[in-house]
């Protein structure tokens, strides 16, 4: 049975503890700091080295009515039932691990980049290759010498590979809760068995609706080709507000039509060629 996340946006206070905890545990470098002016979101997106991203949806409807809503959502890899990244990966680096999660084996990935456009949620990205300075490398090596798990880490391979949320594969193996869920002070991020989480989420939606909140689940009972998401969300606004596609499409569903079209074109041209080269 799969383990996953239930991220309840109505509980999120935008403290970014999950972002920080993820960076800390996974030793992910900073992506740079810049003031964006987009509410309190200076992170903007998930990346190869940012595996939790708190979106700030700060609405100010200028018109007859001024509605002041502010919601936050901690975005993450969805660990899809049918994962585009995993299907595309030519090396088999991306696997579904024993916890039912989509995991990139950092020692297998060769950085071909095919998973990047194959994720319908724009989650996974390549980590820039980098060479630490000699001093940094030494410092880094002494700091991590005794920690076995790090031989798999993105940093050890000095980039050049794809990166995304591992659902704290290493912590799960130790019996720990993933870093983000552990750090979340409001339980906006809940970790556990996906079926249990779904049952809990459905109850939560019911209760919110009774209170007049327009709550809906994203990634549960989906009819899309991607299927249900092992990391699913409770939203109060349309998915696009949080930069989520309303109906994601599994890219591999385009393949049969593509191969058929290519075969048809090749067959037609071959017939023409046979007529031209033996037509006498």
């Amino acid at each position: 049975m799969a383990n996953g996340f239930f991220t309840d946006t109505t509980l999120c206070i935008g403290c970014k503890a999950c972002e920080v905890a993820c960076k800390q545990w996974n030793e992910l470098p900073s992506d740079g700091l810049a003031f964006t002016g987009m509410s309190y979101d200076n992170t903007l997106r998930l990346s190869g080295t940012t595996w939790r991203h708190v979106a700030f949806v700060e609405d100010r409807e200028v018109g007859t009515t001024i509605v002041n809503r502010w919601s936050m959502m901690s975005d993450v890899c969805k660990h899809c039932t049918h994962a585009g990244c995993m299907e595309a990966c030519p090396t088999g680096a991306i696997i579904r691990n024993e916890f039912g999660d989509v995991y990139i084996q950092p020692d297998v990935c060769n950085g071909c980049g095919y998973c990047v456009p194959s994720c319908p949620f724009g989650v996974v990205d390549l980590i820039e290759p980098f060479k630490p300075s000699a001093a940094k490398a030494a410092e880094y090596n002494t700091a991590t010498l005794d920690r076995e798990r790090l031989s798999e880490g993105a940093l050890q391979s000095h980039g050049g590979i794809a990166g995304k949320c591992t659902l704290c594969y290493d912590r799960q193996r130790l019996g720990f809760t993933p870093a983000c869920a552990k750090a979340c002070p409001t339980e906006s991020i809940q970790f556990g068995n996906v079926d249990d989480l779904k049952a809990r989420a459905r109850k939560r939606v019911e209760r919110l609706r009774e209170r007049g909140v327009d709550a809906q689940l994203y990634g549960v009972d989906e009819t899309t080709s991607v299927g249900d998401l092992n990391a699913f969300f409770l939203l109060t606004q349309p998915p696009e507000h949080y930069n989520l596609p309303a109906r994601p499409v599994l890219p591999s569903t385009h393949q049969p039509a593509g191969y058929a079209a290519a075969a048809l074109a090749a067959a037609a041209l071959a017939v023409a060629g046979l007529a031209i080269f033996r037509g006498r």
Binding site: D59, T91, A93, V116, P117, G122, L126, A162, V249, G258
Partner: protein, 329 residues
């Protein structure tokens, strides 16, 4: 560093505080999808891989013909296939984030992944082309005679089949993604890759035939090229219609003009015109050959620009959240 610096207008208006001309809600107009990382080396591979595949078809067509000049053409095509098969792996390896792990591609065969199938297609194609070249070397008495076990009646059709696959799979590879423009072209892009690959192969082999002093089959190559190029032009026009607003990054603006000038006009229409001229107008042989070489060079340039447009327009398409929210089924 931020790849998309915000404009002052975006500040504090939030997702719902949008202006009237915006096509729907979004998250501060931030891109949903990540841009593909592929650059010149992948573009060149798509281009040369298509030509390599098309050359495989020519190997069979000319090789199975009863005309001696065609068989000489087939021999040239076999050597060209092997040369192209040797150029492609370095291009593919150089685009990897970890080039030293290239061989990880060969640790599995994955039918769901066009990239995995494509690498295996490339390996098998190289094998077929190698076998065909060994046969020719034996025929030329450069290699031992027993190497003629690589019988052309078997290996030439095999190379043609694998060639069709290597020319077409690249189109499937890019259209089986979430990039709206590419996904919208799930039929057009693979078919275009095959047609453009064969047109480019005809062009390359025309040049090689003329250079090697075997210009008798050029007329047939040009007729085949005309068929492929006409199909390519038709598909391009139909893709433009089919893609609608999603086709904007490919067919409009600077990139659209480049595609029109170098591919539609320079790479298809003008070579077609030159080919028709060569067929109907009497002209001395040297002029006829010069015309063929010029038409072929233009066709090749057009083929490269087509691949470049696919990749670069795909990057633009990835940056448009509204296109990405409505993912083509």
């Amino acid at each position: 560093m931020l790849a998309h610096p915000p404009s002052p207008d975006d500040a504090f208006t939030g997702a719902a505080g949008r202006r009237d001309n915006e096509p729907g809600p979004s998250y501060f107009e931030q891109p949903l999808l990540k841009r593909p990382h592929w650059g010149w080396n992948v573009i060149t591979y798509l281009f040369l891989g298509g030509i390599m595949g098309g050359t495989g078809l020519i190997t069979m067509l000319a090789g199975r013909s009863s005309i001696p000049a065609d068989r000489r053409l087939s021999r040239t095509a076999k050597f060209a296939s092997l040369a192209l098969a040797a150029i492609n792996p370095p291009l593919l390896i150089s685009h990897l984030g970890r080039p030293e792990r290239f061989l990880n591609m060969l640790r599995i065969v994955k039918f769901k992944s066009p990239m995995s199938l494509g690498v295996w297609g490339l390996v098998l194609y190289s094998g077929a082309a190698g076998g065909n070249v060994l046969y020719e070397l034996a025929e030329m008495r450069v290699a031992p005679r027993w190497l003629r076990i690589f019988a052309p009646p078997v290996l030439e059709p095999l190379q043609a089949l694998l060639g069709a696959f290597t020319a077409g799979y690249t189109g499937v590879l890019i259209s089986a993604t979430a990039i709206p423009l590419w996904a919208k072209g799930k039929r057009h892009i693979p078919a275009l890759s095959v047609c453009s690959g064969l047109a480019g192969a005809c062009a390359l082999n025309t040049i090689l035939a003329i250079v090697s002093g075997n210009d008798e089959p050029v007329e047939r190559l040009e007729r085949l090229e005309a068929v492929a190029a006409l199909a390519e032009l038709t598909l391009l026009a139909d893709f433009r219609r089919h893609a609608g607003a999603l086709g904007k990054p490919m067919f409009e603006g600077k990139r659209g003009r480049r595609l029109r000038d170098f591919t539609a006009i320079g790479g298809i229409a003008i070579p077609l015109l030159l080919n028709v001229m060569g067929a109907v107008l009497p002209m001395p042989k040297s002029l006829r050959n010069a015309r063929s070489v010029a038409a072929s060079a233009l066709t090749l340039l057009g083929g490269y620009v087509l691949r470049e447009t696919f990749i670069e327009a795909g990057k633009t398409s990835a940056g448009d959240p509204h296109a990405a929210f409505r993912q083509p089924e």
